[in-house]
């Protein structure tokens, strides 16, 4: 993400210090993470101290200070999914991508997270990739679903 685009996003929000979180969210959704240079630029333009931006960026789970993959894989480990074999689904994803929950692979293709309930327990075990729900997953179906996301 170049600094011109960061400036554009800041200007879109009128350069107001009160829209700091909105600006961070916009950059996060476009870039998938918040590079230090972008935060420094925001700090400079909005006249908000860098430590305060750091405080906010580390407070909310929606923000990431490390690069994230193009596809966010969320595996439900809630009770219903757990008893229907979420662990085997998680193991499959870990084997296929080579990453553990909270990590991102080297090609920046996938980021893996575990979540505690996606609210559709009847479909368990459930995985969510980029907001799409994949229900009744088996290890084989998991591998097929992952392949669709380049």
């Amino acid at each position: 993400m170049d600094s011109a685009r960061v400036d554009q996003i800041i200007d879109k929000h009128g350069g107001e210090a009160s829209s700091l979180i909105q600006i961070l969210l916009d950059i996060q959704s476009e870039n998938h993470w918040l590079p230090k240079e972008a935060l420094e630029r925001i700090s400079e333009k909005l006249q908000v101290p860098f430590t305060r931006i750091q405080h906010i960026a580390t407070f909310y789970k929606a923000f990431s200070l490390v690069p994230k993959g193009r596809h966010q894989v969320h595996i439900c480990m809630g009770t219903a999914c757990h008893v229907r074999g979420a662990q085997r689904v998680l193991d499959t994803v870990q084997d296929l991508t080579g990453i553990k929950p909270g990590e991102t692979d080297l090609d920046l293709r996938y980021s893996l997270e575990t979540v505690n309930c996606l609210g559709c327990c009847a479909l368990g075990p459930v995985i969510e990739i980029d907001g799409d729900i994949h229900g009744k997953m088996s290890p084989a179906r998991t591998a097929d679903a992952l392949k669709k996301y380049e």
Binding site: P49, F50, T51, R52, Q54, H55, T58, F59
Partner: protein, 198 residues
């Protein structure tokens, strides 16, 4: 400014509008223990050690003295059984984080708090925010701030600002209720991160 009459520990106290219970008590020479309070800084209400019982219109509430504004006819009790019990619990929890803090140990003796009640998780920081707020409000340098959240929250120096400003200031170190240990350590960590790597 209108005068407000209230009662603190059965003593009639006169206060001005907009004052907090803590300020009124200090003016009257009544001691209320504090950890996160500093007269140059905005009230923060983080440590809750200044909790007192405040009774108004027949209702008794437990409030933080450093934040609660005085009101006409308020009856404040700074050392009731309930208050002492709460302070004891707060101290025991804080001591799990900073077992070697002399300030906490002194208070613990006063309130009979057992410093070994909870499993030690010595982070040396009780999240009073004194260093963070002093740097922001008094020095206006914003060299130190909080990062992360909840149980993982900790203070962190901005290496760029810290390398420039902190060595000649260090005014936040003596403010720390846990003996400045944590701030000094995190500051050194920030400085080391600016050194070239070999």
């Amino acid at each position: 400014m209108s005068k407000i009459l209230l009662q603190i520990d059965a003593k009639e106290v006169e206060a001005k509008e907009g004052m907090t219970i803590l300020e009124a008590a200090q003016d009257a020479g009544i001691y209320i223990p504090t950890l996160c309070h500093h007269e140059k800084l905005e009230p923060y209400g983080a440590c809750r050690i200044c909790t007192v019982e405040a009774e108004s219109r027949g209702q008794t509430k437990l409030v933080a003295a450093c934040l609660y504004p005085v009101e006409q006819g308020l009856v404040v009790r700074t050392r009731s059984e309930k208050v002492d019990k709460i302070r004891k619990m707060i101290l025991e929890l804080l001591l799990a984080h900073a077992p070697d803090s002399r300030e906490l140990q002194g208070l613990a003796e006063e309130y009979g708090a057992d410093k070994d009640r909870f499993e030690k998780e010595a982070s040396f920081c009780v999240h009073c925010g004194l260093c963070v707020r002093y740097c922001a409000e008094v020095k206006k340098k914003f060299a130190v701030g909080f990062v992360n959240r909840g149980a993982r929250r900790e203070i962190s120096f901005d290496p760029v600002i810290a390398a420039k400003e902190c060595w000649n200031c260090k005014e936040c170190f003596p403010l720390c209720p846990t003996e400045a240990l944590q701030a000094a350590y995190v500051y050194t960590e920030a400085l080391i991160s600016t050194l070239p790597r070999f």
